[in-house]
Structure formats: structure tokens, C-alpha cells
């Protein structure tokens, strides 16, 4: 079927003659949102416990949710908005994974023991798995603060604004998160050392 047959011969009147600017501006804003924050969103998703295989899909979902509510997001608050969406999606992905695998946090020490050899430490993939397990044991508020400060290199003021909490709370959460992180990594190192000595 040709185009002419599908679309009947036109009436004489032409042009919907309206401004395209608002729609184009919205599209441009959406595109800027993706270009400017896609790595941030992917990192937040991954470091918040989204399985590697699902990160790309969750990135898309994050931006799709953001697009639906873009008009409600004030200029300059996009990153915070995306962060909250990503955090929610990551939590959902984590819960789904936990149900699927029936993983419990107290299994971690045994499971990570094999990572502690020098050979394994050079393996990026295993390092990633190890990091996942360390972060998975953190409470969500501590984890979010830790991720934003240590991986996104945000200041405590920026984190406070992003999370909508006082700066003092950010500092306190960060301290606790670091203590937990170091304790767990220290335990892994000790395990590896003991294993090498025996």
C-alpha cells in the first residue's frame, strides 16, 4: 500500500501552526538529564545493591519515572530527584534478589573467605562482588551516605541537601558507615592472612 493510498488527499488548509518551544525545551531538558546524570544514576544503582545484570534496565526505569514527573522537578533539583528514584528502585531490586536467592546477611563471612587470596584481590569482578557483600551489610541510611561521600565525592553539605537531613546527621552516619566498612574489610583481610599462614 502506498503512502498516498494510506493518507488520503489533503484538504487545502495547512499547518497546525503552534509553537513547538515548550515541548522541545522539555525534550532538551530530558536529554540533558540523561547525559548529565546517567553515570551517577548507574553508580548509585550498582552501589546500592542492584545486581549488575539489571543495572541498565533500572537506569532506564529511573529516567522513565523522572520523565513522567519532570514538570514537577524544579531546576537544579534533578540530581536529588534522580537519586531518590534510583535508591527506591535499587531497594526493590535488592528485595527481589533476596527473595530469589534467599540470601541472608549472616552468610557473608563464609562466602567472602575465598576472595581474600592475593590472586583473587586482583580480580575486578570478584572485588566488585566483595564490595557488594560489604555494602549489603550496611543499614540503608548509612549505605546511602557512604556511597554519596566515598564514591560520588559529595561533601557533607551536598549530601545533607540531597537527603534532606541535617549536616550533623550526615557526619554521624558517615562515621558509623566508615567504622562498619573498615571492620568488615579488616575481618576479610584477617581471614585471608590466617588462611595464607596455615
Amino acid at each position: 500500500m502506498t503512502s498516498a493510498a494510506v493518507y488520503e488527499v489533503p484538504p487545502a488548509d495547512r499547518g497546525l501552526s503552534v509553537s513547538r518551544d515548550p515541548a522541545r525545551e522539555r525534550e532538551a531538558r530530558l536529554r540533558r538529564l540523561v547525559d548529565g546524570h546517567i553515570d551517577f544514576v548507574a553508580r548509585v544503582l550498582r552501589n546500592s545493591g542492584t545486581p549488575q545484570a539489571e543495572v541498565d534496565d533500572e537506569v532506564q526505569r529511573t529516567f522513565i519515572v523522572a520523565a513522567r514527573r519532570l514538570d514537577d522537578v524544579r531546576i537544579g533539583a534533578e540530581k536529588s530527584f534522580l537519586f531518590r528514584i534510583a535508591l527506591n528502585l535499587a531497594a526493590h531490586a535488592r528485595r527481589t534478589l533476596a527473595r530469589r536467592r534467599e540470601v541472608s546477611a549472616d552468610q557473608a563471612p563464609e562466602q567472602i573467605e575465598r576472595f581474600a587470596t592475593p590472586e583473587a584481590l586482583t580480580d575486578q569482578k570478584r572485588m566488585r562482588e566483595l564490595l557488594d557483600r560489604v555494602l549489603d551489610q550496611m543499614e540503608e541510611p548509612l549505605r546511602a551516605t557512604f556511597v554519596l561521600h566515598e564514591f560520588e565525592e559529595m561533601s557533607t553539605s551536598e549530601i545533607a541537601e540531597l537527603l534532606g537531613i541535617p549536616r550533623g546527621t550526615v557526619a554521624s552516619r558517615l562515621r558509623r558507615a566508615r567504622i562498619e566498612f573498615r571492620e568488615r574489610v579488616g575481618a576479610i583481610e584477617a581471614l585471608g592472612k590466617a588462611e595464607r599462614e596455615t
Binding site: 494510506v6 488520503e8 515548550p22 536529554r31 547525559d35 546517567i38 513522567r68 572485588m127
Partner: protein, 245 residues
């Protein structure tokens, strides 16, 4: 309040540093950007296509193979090219016959696939169905040959790249003022990719093309139908603006 140092900068533990580096170095692949823009209905830019093809070495390989085929034909000469051309035409004719027998008729109204921006969860945007046939109907023989040589199942990014080029071609025609040719290309896209991820984008372009060609009433009808079906689509705002709401 004093700003704390990054743990990465103050730790003496190699393992801590390595873990922190792994966490900080994660990047989204180029294909994810292309897929995300596609899902948002923002496909069609050169960068988007570049992003998709970067992640699709097979596409480049296919182009290389086709280039080599053309070069071979020119070296062998007309005497050899004629039978090769006949063979290709014959294959195309046979395939077109099969395709016609199995392909749904191009609809008079817009195809209404699930809006990517509205149904992301179940659709698994990274894995679109491969089209049975995926090439414009009114283009040169080379495209037909490329189509026939294409494997039945495509990696997602390769398919997306093909979809993008089809949409880009239609957009280019429209920008040049050739609305009729743009419509032909858009129809070919819809036939080639019955469940294409860029169908919403194609429909919006179709509305533009109809309007530009003077079929304003039809453009308006389709625009209104689009808004009824996809009121929350990312592209709805653009269609509303066209309607002057």
C-alpha cells in the same frame, strides 16, 4: 564543621582502596544511554545512533562485509556482476513473496505498541523482539540485500541502530521538506518493526509529515488518537503543542 577526607585518601589498606576504587569507577555503557534515550522517545540524534553502534560491533562488521561484497563485484566486472545481481534480485523476489504472505498489512491507523515510557517494567527494554523483516520497502537494492543477509535474531543494540537509522532517514526527509518520502519511510519502519521501540517517535513524525504535506485534518485526528492512547508519554507534550492545546 570540618569536612572529612575521603576514606580512599587516608586509608593504608590496599584492600580498602581497591574496593573504594571499584565502587567509584563504575560507568554506564554507551549502549545504556542509547537504550535509555530510545525508551524515552528521544531517539534520532547522531549521538544516539553513535552510542548504539558503538555497542554493536556486529553492525560495523555487517557494513564491512557489504562493502567488501560491492568491491568484489566491481573487480570481477560487469560480466560477473550481472549474474550476481540477478541472483540477488531473485532472492529478494522470493523473500518478498514470503514476507508478503506472512507480514501483517500496513495499518491505516497508527500501530499502538506498548509505550516504552509507560510500560517499562515488564517490557525489558534491553531485549526487543527482532523484526521478521527490517528494511524500508522503497529503497535501493543494496538495502534489500543487506536485509536478506541479516541474521534472524539481532543483538538489541544492532536492532536499535537499524531502527534509529530508519527514523533518522524519515526525519531527514521531513527536514528537507519531502513529507511524502518521509511518510513512505515511516510506513516502511512500521512494517519492518511491528513492535519497534521507536514507534511512538515514528507516529509523532508521521503527524508532522501529514501536517506538512497539507493533510491537516488527518494529522489532527492522529494527534488526538495519539494523546488518547499515550496521554503520559514523554512525546505527548510535543503532540499537544502541535495541536495547540
Amino acid at each position: 564543621m570540618k569536612e572529612p577526607l575521603r576514606l580512599r585518601d587516608e586509608t593504608a589498606s590496599a584492600l580498602e582502596r581497591a574496593l573504594l576504587d571499584v565502587g567509584a569507577s563504575y560507568r554506564s555503557p554507551a549502549s545504556a544511554r542509547a537504550k535509555t534515550l530510545g525508551a524515552l522517545g528521544l531517539a534520532g540524534s547522531a549521538t544516539l545512533l553513535a552510542g548504539a553502534t558503538q555497542a554493536a560491533p556486529i553492525s560495523a562488521f555487517a557494513k564491512l562485509t557489504w562493502t567488501k561484497l560491492l568491491a568484489t563485484i566491481s573487480v570481477v566486472g560487469v560480466a560477473a556482476a550481472v549474474p550476481v545481481g540477478y541472483y540477488a534480485w531473485h532472492r529478494h523476489a522470493a523473500a518478498a513473496h514470503v514476507a508478503t504472505a506472512h507480514m501483517p498489512v500496513a495499518p491505516a491507523q497508527a500501530v499502538d505498541p506498548p509505550a516504552p515510557a509507560e510500560e517499562p517494567a515488564g517490557s525489558g527494554p534491553a531485549a526487543p523482539p527482532a523484526p521478521a523483516l527490517a528494511a524500508p520497502a522503497r529503497v535501493g537494492t543494496g538495502v534489500h540485500l543487506a536485509r536478506l543477509d541479516r541474521p534472524a535474531a539481532h543483538p538489541s543494540s544492532v536492532t536499535l541502530a537499524h531502527e534509529l537509522s530508519s527514523i533518522d532517514a524519515a526525519r531527514a526527509m521531513l527536514a528537507r521538506g519531502d513529507a511524502e518520502e518521509a511518510l513512505v519511510r515511516l510506513d516502511a519502519y512500521t512494517r519492518g518493526y511491528p513492535q519497534g521501540r521507536l514507534e511512538l517517535e515514528a507516529e509523532v513524525l508521521r503527524i508532522d509529515a501529514l501536517d506538512q504535506s497539507g493533510r491537516t485534518n488527518l494529522a489532527r485526528e492522529r494527534a488526538e488518537a495519539f494523546l488518547r492512547r499515550h496521554p503520559r508519554s514523554v512525546l505527548a507534550a510535543r503532540v499537544r503543542a502541535r495541536l495547540g492545546d
